[in-house]
Symmetry: C2
Amino acid sequence: MDLTIKQIALRAGVSKSTVSRVISGKGYASPETREKVNQIINELQYKPNALARAMVSQRTNNIGVIIFREEYPIASHPFYGQILDSIITAAESLNYSVFVATVREMNSRSADYMFEKRVDGLILISRLRKHLIDSIQHFKVPYVMVNGSTDVSGVFHLVNNDDGGGRKAADYLLGIGHRNIFILAGPQTHRSHHLRLAGFRDGMSGHNNPIPDSSIAYPAASSFEEGYRTMKQEWSRFLDGKYTAIFATNDMIALGAMKFLLEQFIRIPEQVAVMGFDGIDYAEMFSPSLTTIGVDMKEMGRQSLVLLDNLIREETVSGNTVEFEPELIVRQSTEKIVDLKGESSLL
Amino acid sequence: MDLTIKQIALRAGVSKSTVSRVISGKGYASPETREKVNQIINELQYKPNALARAMVSQRTNNIGVIIFREEYPIASHPFYGQILDSIITAAESLNYSVFVATVREMNSRSADYMFEKRVDGLILISRLRKHLIDSIQHFKVPYVMVNGSTDVSGVFHLVNNDDGGGRKAADYLLGIGHRNIFILAGPQTHRSHHLRLAGFRDGMSGHNNPIPDSSIAYPAASSFEEGYRTMKQEWSRFLDGKYTAIFATNDMIALGAMKFLLEQFIRIPEQVAVMGFDGIDYAEMFSPSLTTIGVDMKEMGRQSLVLLDNLIREETVSGNTVEFEPELIVRQSTEKIVDLKGESSLL
DNA sequence: TAGCTTTGTGGGAACGGTTCCACAGACAGA
DNA sequence: TCTGTCTGTGGAACCGTTCCCACAAAGCTA
């Protein structure tokens, strides 16, 4: 590991300037010198010290990905983990190495390290903490936000069109005959859940079929467990309402609710149709598979890195919000067309 | 960002050596100087440059996690992602930042970067590539392997007791009355799948109930899709065999198979019991929830970092293999005790 | 009072690269 | 032959730290 450019120079009988020139490929170097130096480098498996390079170039070619986690383990999260995955893949092709940190609440210690480590840029996933944004701006580190809140101005955002997605969901459920729909709406402090609910209600109202507040239940978190728990808690109210369908503002909640329904021997979609939002892998795997509004996580991850790279290279970046259009994915959980009376077939 | 120890020294009216001493806390510095310097540091939000530090200390406090991916997106993988998660969490408390790279096949470009970036250590997850191990040993970077193959000697390993887990599974299924069991065994080139199968067969044989080769099918990958596909392909053979239970060498395969069974309106566990191995989150979420042999992924992740840290600090590390004991987790997919005749209730 | 230790501080080399600049030789054009 | 450009190379400063060493002042002991 303690092999330096100096040793290479020594063996090749040239100065370290020359070796440096050969490696970088810029500046003059005779073909013979070039060959000789390269041969020695290969032979000794010399790898330039990226730290030393970064010191002078002021570029580390490292970026940081900071994921705000709440209770859920995050790298393995079916939604954020997927985004992380495609960031890592994209980073490889653009020659960045990526630091991954998860932070919860205010103890953004691991985020602070990013500054000390002098990352070239940051990708923030999910929530944003004012405290951290302040630091980022103070240190003038380029950054983009993926699927985060939009209340800080001048931030480059990559978001899903959650509003439009909600509307798509409404259109679809209306289209296959549902009129009386129960909603499981995740934490409304979270931009996505908020917009998905708003979009959905908006879509329903647009077709003269407004959703009353009483048809909405609010799981305390966007998790499977909360979906299950909330459905269980609302069960009698649900039965009384004679609902034919359930729309959840994300897949995990939908799957949790579905699990409870199945335990009550409710047939899906024959008795109740269930629809989610996100398009996580597991939505397809469950039985029945879940109809959902699919977010292009892969593309969001990839583009966040491309955008960040542009920011780092100080190229002009047009606009400051990239919106992704989600896509309706019809699966078993809503497959059956209910009869147009729209009545519940429960009981 | 261009705030250096020099500027701090200038403002405090001391030399940079003194500032350095104040920051590190070692060496003499009068209380007044200490206070003054600290105040300026806080005021200016100075953050020491980790690159420069690393240059002289020869320690970056960065580690690399390299995950060998095959087809599946890896950070979001329910098994490896979980391990990654707990590594990241543990790293934070030990003051390491972590680079995450995924590599497939021989193009270990992003692994090479790890050397240039001078990571203090490496954690290799899943498969190992001879090529990479050679590099690692050449550069003398401390490393540990999590859940990998054991054919390279002198490597620090953290593995699950897959063999014993397989035996546990056999004991359990036998214990609840199953005699005629179908096995879905993942890629036998993979240590885990191989040992789980071996352990299971061994356990069955030990109770005078050997599994014939004809009762084993081999999905080509350890994925949900392959589990589904294989079950579908083996369907008639399965029916003919009058099996009462299925054991898969990992949860994903089990869940895939279960999906196919449910589509055939097979009742689980009433007609067929299904059992997996891994203990991924989704095993619990599915309907019916999946009985499995749970691997302590969290602890594996955490301990891999602790072990690596010891290696980095050159403390003596006893032994070179840490084995984790998996745990039987009984859930709905096997809940029913079949009658002791052990006959299939299919058809 | 001489000598030693303790406390406090600053100078400068080193870490391993990049890059600017100087310089030398070859070669071309006037 | 002189000047100018091109090619090829080495020396040295610099990036931002740490840390060794020198040095000075003060306090203690004999």
